[in-house]
Symmetry: D3
Subunit: 242 residues, 6 copies
């Protein structure tokens, strides 16, 4: 997990919280990261933004002998990943899109929240979603299934590289969510992506307002040199002490 100092991390998270997933996805595509967005996940709390570094958990379809892999219940990656999440981290769960059992319910998710987790992304199912909703945690899930995980899946690994909703995820990646869905940013690109995202979001607001005021696409989007200059002037003006 690439090391990033606390101040840089704080700035990245702040900027990502002011970037849209669409803008970040487009920027990553230009860098050759063509599969950065996770399609098909439901956004449980569209009113919350998510931005934090990835921790991962990987599950495979259950078989009785997988239970002998771990010395104790608390060693099981299913519990361990929840219990070891750090402040602001996002738990990313690879369950191959399995639709047959809820991987986390309200109590496990409440524990994530209590430990300060920044979010939860599940390529599988949650249960107790109506009791998860009030926890004020950004949550994205592929399915809901009230059956418990024991009939369907077994956790086999924590903090490995995983596949989640069509995207490869490495621990330490920045995971960003808005109501469009979730995008994955490799840690070494995060500072640049975040700076671009926040700046671009500001420009987009400016352009959208121009368009809403009547500007045609030819006049405003994508912005030509004149529009860009106008935007730069406005920024300078806003930066002036009044």
């Amino acid at each position: 997990m690439t090391d990033i100092d606390a101040a840089t991390h704080a700035r990245i998270v702040d900027q990502l919280n002011h970037s849209s997933v669409a803008t970040l996805t487009h920027w990553l595509n230009g860098r050759g990261y063509r599969n950065a967005f996770m399609p098909g996940l439901a956004c449980v709390r569209p009113d919350l933004r998510m931005a934090g570094r990835a921790r991962t958990m990987r599950l495979v379809p259950i078989r009785p002998d997988l239970s002998d892999l771990f010395l104790s219940r608390d060693e099981n990656p299913h519990r361990k990943a929840v219990e070891h999440i750090g402040e602001g981290e996002v738990l990313v769960i690879d369950a191959h899109g399995n639709a047959e059992g809820g991987i986390l319910g309200d109590i496990m998710t409440a524990r994530l929240k209590a430990r300060g987790a920044g979010g939860l992304v599940v390529d599988g199912c949650l249960r107790d979603v109506w009791q998860i909703k009030p926890l004020d945690l950004p949550v994205y899930t592929r399915h809901i299934n009230a059956a418990a995980i024991q009939r369907a899946l077994s956790a086999v690994e924590m903090d490995g590289i995983v596949a989640c909703a069509g995207v490869g995820v490495r621990p330490g990646d920045y995971i960003v969510g808005d109501p469009d869905g979730v995008v994955v940013i490799p840690a070494p690109l995060a500072a640049e992506a975040a700076a671009y995202g926040a700046e671009h979001e500001d420009l987009e607001v400016f352009l959208r307002e121009k368009v809403q005021a009547g500007a045609s696409l030819a006049e405003a989007y994508p912005p030509n040199e004149a529009v860009k200059a106008e935007y730069e002037a406005l920024k300078k003006e806003r930066a002036q002490p009044s």
Copy 2:
């Protein structure tokens, strides 16, 4: 349809209304009922709980000669099932997940409500969903399709055993719904399931509050003997006249 006396039924319904679908599904799994939850249904009214006994209707893809099966329009199981629903009963419709025509619209559903139905579960489509929403009836459906049933399906049976969203349903089963979805409880197990569900829900609230207050999974979930004792003590205390 297993006979259950009115007082027992009332207590079961009351307890089921205080149980989560996740808890009931888990309990049933432990009894060998592995397919008790219906995945993939949309919950039209997440603000309403559903708990009542099943009545069923079965449809097959339409063919012109199926209309000669019934003596009169009112003998058609499609109308008959709606018209014969009893107080608190839940109509469960097996349409094989058909996506091509709305089985009930707003007027038929309003009739269900007027007769006191406790809910509606459709493994197929509804139409007029926006006018069904205000009826204050718990409704779960696989799809929405504004086309009328006449182009797609024909009802052939009422109150038979059906398959609905991957679960076998017998008339008289208890059907319970919350925002996670719908679970099916065989009548002979209902009293025990309901008692467990309500009790367990109370315990879950206690545990969730512990976790939200900072307890780790090892300390609180699943509850060890000390935690269980604490819960029992709290219950006793609450039961005291103040």
Copy 3:
């Protein structure tokens, strides 16, 4: 595109705004238009009704040499269709249900709204949906994908006949949306459909109220001669100057 004079058009739109998609779909089925409803689209703004004439755009999976088809960026049907939408018109986009890139984002959609568009129907993906939602435009889409169109699709035609969500659409068709979804009405049938729809909706309200007041299906639905007479009498009464 069938010519319809302004007064007729205004009346049609007004009546369609008082018709349900379910009623219109059923009426079209009776005229031999069996595939008139578009199943599987999400309704982004269930609080808004949509009724307007269709403009179309067709896209195919991207390949680098498709960019040489158009003289300039503004000639590209992707921009042209947005920039040429007329007052009250509905843009219908055929992207074969592609799930891999957002065809329009918030700025392009804001331009549609600024030009007075009556709605947007996408058999593919949108991006920036959370910023599209506040634009007060009726929008229906199959998917959301934050990735930009450039990695997935290329527009090749504007105002041709298209396939959208399983329905053939000709420019000039009336496109009507409510929370059930979207229905397509051929222009030559629109006046008759709209008149029927508005009238029938009024009757449905009358019948639903009867049913909610306790009438059985046999007494009220579908309406027999007595009920129809009662409705006619009520209409006459309402039409009286008070």
Copy 4:
């Protein structure tokens, strides 16, 4: 099950064995039977034609208490349907397209064959397909799954009306299969359909040979009056004693 005398039945079966499923499907569509073909089934033995009357079996997802429905194992519709199949009859199995357990294996299918069954159509799974293949029975199935039925499904009814692969099926219907798939013909229409099918197949061979010899579509297909006269003349000629 509509009564048809033995001689008529024999002639129908003979003619259906000389009709293509495509021709029969088209003829039924013209009679208002729009869903007569079963899409999505694999043809296990493309070298065999199938034509016989339907017997049906219906299954629902398993639950432990369904086993109390029948007095003895041999009363279970799963075994009874196999054991009661008649000479030339086709067993049609409604399992909702379930993909999780093989409904019949090689021994049950061998028993069908030994009793003289005319075919097997499964909207679900078979197992032991490689040992079923050599049995010389026309078989159509949606899936293959080596797991046994006990983990997935329970038979609840024999000889009821069922839904199979999108088509409503009544016991006694004629079920016809060729490598395109399976079509369902209501018994009262069978004599007419079979006569048309066999006659039309003969005409199609004539037309295909014309086209293969160089005739354009305008000259040969669909046949104009001259081509029809030519065909009639040829038939007369063939009918001459030589």
Copy 5:
């Protein structure tokens, strides 16, 4: 449709007939054509290779008024595309993957063959597939459905740009098929792709034989300088007059 002289065309076709679809797809990917292969099509005649230039037909879901688009039956793109196919050309049909009706049956396909068509690619259904198989035409289709097109689709355009099985296709593209499936090569790239494909195929045979004789991947694949030199030497040797 890019002009290519007859001799060049003949050489391209010959080389493509000695190239694998896998090799061509990989080469196109390197040129930025990332969606060149059509996944999900069944190969009806795995014993035949296909290589020819594309003609296209586009269909949309049927509606009764689409029949008024064409002056006569023979003007309908459905018949016209078949009747105007040229020697060696491949008919590519865009039907959005529709599964509900067979677009061509045996007689229309026999006409394609009689006119010298080089192949048929259908993003939809065929019917009469068992009678199409003996026609010795390379055919690829997404589905089989014995129902005739009249209940499902209407052709609206011939020789436009289409989408077929996830690939954009322009008339005149080279369409190549082997048992893996179908790949689309833009005409301006065809000569280079074909030359590469044939050469590479020869090298692959050489490498496969080396591997089958015991060479490790490190020794043989991808080929290092020594292996390439060995191959060049072998080629020179084979080119010697004996």
Copy 6:
């Protein structure tokens, strides 16, 4: 990977080669291994049986920075897994069912065969399938896609626990294939499963012949005591020196 001595292993493989996948799946279900069969895989060589111990490879969706995980090309699990396969081992590939790029082509697969591999199971795509077919290796794959892996997936692990086609797989498991598909047997259960499978297969042949000779299900299947005794007697007789 559980240690099993060579003689035992040889006997297990021999017995598994005489067991049907259906029988083994059923036996495992009885031991609580409910997800042992892999549904949905195509059998490329139905004429070959497969039985061997699992080696595994895991891939995730491609991203450019995954290439920095390995020191050299030959360290990449994609090549390493092929190059390190042992005599009789079956390579099991977890690609989450990805449909976008062929993980192995003919040369890599030829190398597997040259190293003595016992089979190949791919929960993803192969390419060059027509050139893989003649290699005389048992191969099962979910899809075919002629595009190369580089555009879609990156291998991240060799010989870890994986999920393949809905089944959890540990290195060293016995992987058995017949035309029904593939089943996974945990190593500690393999000797018992294999002995049961071979014995049961022999009994099944006996029972099938009885049924084909006219025995009813009640008389022969499942076998009652008399039938079992008859079978035991026959076995004893066959065991006699003649």
